[in-house]
């Protein structure tokens, strides 16, 4: 046996030993760094306070009760001359509650016996010291920690207390006894009312946050699903043109659709009639055109692939979408009108909600218009140029690739650099993107110089390694160059934004940032090289680029805790549940986006293949092949997320996000542990009930 030990086994054993040694070092360091000290838990004062806190937490102030009290007081003189022997106490003759002290003459620090007679039997009572100025303070019986003691079954008590340190010793002080007992049924305390109110707010915060996240996560999940994006690859020329025209489409979209949408909102909300302006004329004319165009389109039913036909179809589509945006705007405006009508009574809540929806539409319609415009223009023109680019052969294709690729690189880095002017650290993005482009360009150069076959199965191991090294070298070189040119130390060390220069053109001063210009130049060169090498025909895996991008963004967003997002949103929108909704909503987008996209990756690919083979477009394939398969798991994960959000929204209040956490933190800070106990009990009940409910529903769905 031992003789047959191979070097393999020996190496494994050595690795195990090294592993154990490393683990020992890490754990020793860990124990040291985390101050683990069990003696701390044995400390007497700490034990006393934790016992008190726990006891109070476990006696939550849920119920309250009306009470009645008996009072009785006795006067005494301090620092008097008569320091005679203690007199005997005799029971008073009457039936009124009476308090008697052993001596009528004491000084601070003396222990005196206080006796009471004729109190209500078996009732908790307290003693108070009331100096002449009336600032009473409770007296703790000697030998206990609890100020409350019990009257015995004869209505009598005898307690020893210490005379407190007091001023005004020449005057008469009083010792007062109070016996207190409850009458009538117990009812929910004020704390309970407050906690219930805040708990509802908490659950609704979670609901709104989840609802906010659903549509956005739904849209993103398709972009972050590998199986859908893997097949999306587009000829390079189309990609270049599409990306170049994205910002142009955005600007045109905000102008055209933004105007139409706002016109719709104004029409719906009745604002238009208050002061009709000439500005409204343009969208109105456009709409008229659009409705005519819609009619024409219906009648002609245009088909074909010629450029003029395509242009006409695109024009009609632009106008049709304008009508859609207009209707959307009118609905938003009508919601605003409705909210003004329903401003009182029972319907006020609905009015308020409608008003909020109307506000959201009014605020976002320009952005929506821009987005729609960007997507439409970019996809249409990418499609359109395909016919022109298709016929380019040989050197023409590479020249076109150089020009279009260069412009695209400039546009991309221009946008990234623009983003970088918003915060010092964001300036880091431009060099990073430059480095990524550098890696791609270097790999493309390597492939070209060493004539590597573009098909994966023909690439030898040496070539693959060479290409990898080339791309790493390219990335490093470009990062260094970009960091130097864009003055990265300014962003990272000094934390300043790039400087703004002024550029004079025919006497008009334009604000420019050379930062953006330099970034664009680098992007143009690198992307131009790639475009020149690839030409316009090579197919580019756009899908995987989008997939990787959206996955990276989702992961980055998920790594930011909702509590930290909460801090930012509290600064932005103020303390309250709205900040909590935004913080949890943003985090939920990332979490749901990932869960959703994993569900898409798990679907049965067969139906997709079948629907694709019928000649369906990508969109139709998703609607008919993907969506029916993902709805049940989507519902299940949404419920699960709501469940998590309820849990998180109970603590988002700690940073000001509203809900129960907000009052729980106050109670803890004020050491009101009995009140905090109520809040904690409420959290435990609500969380476990929702947990059970969502688990049951999920079980039924799947």
């Amino acid at each position: 046996m031992w003789g047959s030990r191979s070097p393999e086994t020996a190496r494994r054993n050595l690795l195990i030993v090294i592993g154990i040694a490393i683990a020992i070092v890490i754990y020793s360091f860990g124990i040291d760094q985390t101050d683990i000290d069990l003696r701390e838990t044995q400390d007497e004062t700490r034990q006393t306070s934790v016992t008190r806190a726990l006891r109070e937490l476990l006696s939550p102030d849920i119920f309250d009760q009306d009470s009645e009290s008996q009072f009785a007081a006795v006067s005494m003189q301090l620092r008097c001359e008569d320091d005679g022997a203690a007199s005997e106490i005799t029971a008073p003759s009457g039936s009124e509650p009476t308090v008697v002290v052993v001596t009528g003459c004491v000084s601070s620090g003396d222990v005196i016996t206080v006796e009471g007679f004729n109190f209500r039997p078996n009732t908790p009572a307290v003693l108070r010291w009331i100096p002449p100025n009336g600032e009473s303070r409770p007296l703790t019986p000697v030998g206990t920690t609890d100020i409350v003691f019990d009257v015995d079954s004869d209505g009598h008590f005898a307690t020893q207390v210490t005379v407190p340190r007091i001023r005004g010793e020449d005057e008469a002080h009083q010792i007062q006894a109070e016996a207190r007992w409850g009458v009538g049924l117990p009812f929910a305390s004020d704390t309970t009312h407050l906690v219930i109110e805040k708990m509802i707010e908490t659950v609704l915060t979670a609901l709104m946050a989840t609802t906010l996240a659903i549509p956005i996560a739904f849209a993103i999940s398709f972009l972050a699903a590998r199986n859908l994006m893997k097949q999306v690859s587009v000829p390079a020329g189309n990609v270049f043109v599409g990306v170049i025209l994205l910002p142009v489409g955005w600007i045109l979209g905000t102008m055209l659709y933004g105007a139409v949408g706002q016109f719709g909102v104004e029409l719906g909300s009745g604002e238009l009639f208050n002061g009709a302006t000439a500005e409204a004329a343009a969208p109105a004319v456009l709409l008229l055109l659009a409705s005519v165009a819609g009619g024409v389109k219906r009648r002609q039913n245009v088909a074909g692939t010629g450029i003029s036909v395509r242009l006409r179809v695109f024009g009609l589509n632009v106008l049709m979408v304008a009508v859609g945006i207009f209707v959307f705007g009118v609905l938003g405006g009508l919601a605003l009108t409705a909210s003004e009508v329903l401003d009182s009574g029972f319907l006020a809540t609905f009015g308020n909600a409608l008003g909020t929806i109307g506000d959201i539409i009014e605020l976002t319609i320009v952005g929506v218009g821009g987005l729609v415009g960007a997507v439409m223009l970019s996809s249409f023109s990418a499609n359109l140029v395909q016919h022109t680019l298709k016929d380019l052969r040989g050197i023409e294709s590479h020249v076109a690739g150089f020009v279009l690729g260069g412009v695209m690189g400039a546009v991309i880095l221009g946008l990234v650099a623009l983003f970088g002017t918003q915060g010092a650290l964001l300036g880091l993005f431009a060099p990073v993107v430059t480095a990524i482009l550098g890696a791609q360009a270097a790999a493309a150069l390597y492939t070209y110089v060493f004539n590597v076959d573009k098909r994966a199965f023909n690439v030898t191991k040496t070539q693959a390694t060479g290409r990898l090294i080339a791309s790493i070298v390219g990335a490093v070189i470009m990062f260094v160059i970009a960091a130097e040119m864009l003055d990265l130390s300014r962003a990272l060390v000094q934390g300043r934004l790039p400087a703004e220069d002024t550029f004079r053109f025919f006497g008009v001063a334009f604000p420019v940032r050379s930062f953006i210009g330099k970034a664009m130049l680098m992007g143009a060169i690198l992307s131009g090289i790639m475009g020149a090498l690839s030409g316009v025909h090579e197919s580019i895996p756009v899908g995987m680029t989008i997939y990787n991008g959206s996955r990276t963004i989702l992961n980055a967003m998920r790594s930011i805790e909702p509590l930290i997002m909460g801090i930012v949103f509290v600064i932005w929108v103020g303390v309250g549940p709205f900040a909590g909704v935004l913080a949890l909503g943003l985090h939920s987008i990332a979490a749901l986006g990932k869960l959703y996209s994993e569900q898409i990756e798990n679907i049965d690919n067969g139906p997709l293949e079948a629907i694709q083979s019928t000649g369906a477009t990508r969109l139709q394939t998703i609607i008919y092949g993907v969506v029916p398969q993902i709805i049940p798991p989507y519902i299940a994960f949404t419920l699960y997320r709501w469940d998590i959000n309820v849990r998180m929204s109970t603590i988002i209040g700690f940073v000001g996000g509203g809900g129960i956490g907000f009052i729980l933190q106050q109670q803890i800070n004020l050491l009101q542990y009995r009140d905090a106990g109520v809040a904690m009990l409420a959290i435990a009940i609500v969380v476990s009930v929702l947990d059970y409910m969502s688990a049951t529903i999920r079980e039924r769905i799947i």
Binding site: T305, N383, Q386, K390, R455, A456, F457, D604, G606, P607, E609, A610, I611, Q612, S613, T614, G615, A616, T617, L619, Q620, I623, Y624, G625, P628, Q629, I631, P632
Partner: protein
Amino acid sequence: MAGVTPPLPSFVCERFMLKIEHLTKIYDNGVKALDDVSFEVPDGQFVAIIGLSGSGKSTLLRCINRLIEPTDGRILWNDIDITSANDEELRLIRRRIGMIFQQFNLVKRSKVITNVLAGRLGYTNQFMSFINHFSKEDYEDALAKLERVGIADKADNRADELSGGQQQRVGIARALMQDPELMLADEPVASLDPATSHSVMKYLELLNKEDGISILCSLHFLSLARTYSDRVIALKDGRIEFDGPAQDIDEVRFKEIYGEDAVRVEIE
């Protein structure tokens, strides 16, 4: 009757609707699934493709409608080059090529009628698809197609409530909605029992004879190929091993196609 050229309508005679020239497919992992495959299919022919698992049958069928991108070679369909078509052109080509699958590939949670209507997507405006809208004619057509495959009463059932044979008939109805000229059938009966297999094959035969739809059908069992097809193409390791009428496959050829250890299993 096998091997006899069926009577074809005169106007399609001797026209090759599908020409495959030097088709090669090498997967990214280096596996050569198709190796220089060339053949021609005249209009209205029922072609069976046989061969062992992994011989390239599925890859060949999927290359024709480019569910899989061929590495090399050309596919001409009515003189249109499928291999160089762009997305939009490919869509227009695909909608005239029906396809049915071994696993039926229905959307299991959708209704039968919805699955059948999905065959019409290539003809439907995609914005209408957003609101799940099909024209009235399409609905009536879908019901008629279901009637034709004998399961009109199941139109409102969920697809996964149907038996295997019924699901495959829904698959045929879906492909018929495309108004296809060519039907690709990828092992359409491999998941079915013998009796159901014959009923499904009979529907394919009917489409071939009555509607004049050309059929390319991959099959495991030589006996099925012999009963239903005009012509058999046998693939072995991605190459064409045999191309001709089914009755020409004798014991020697059989061993060449299926290997030395193969024993004939018949399906009746």
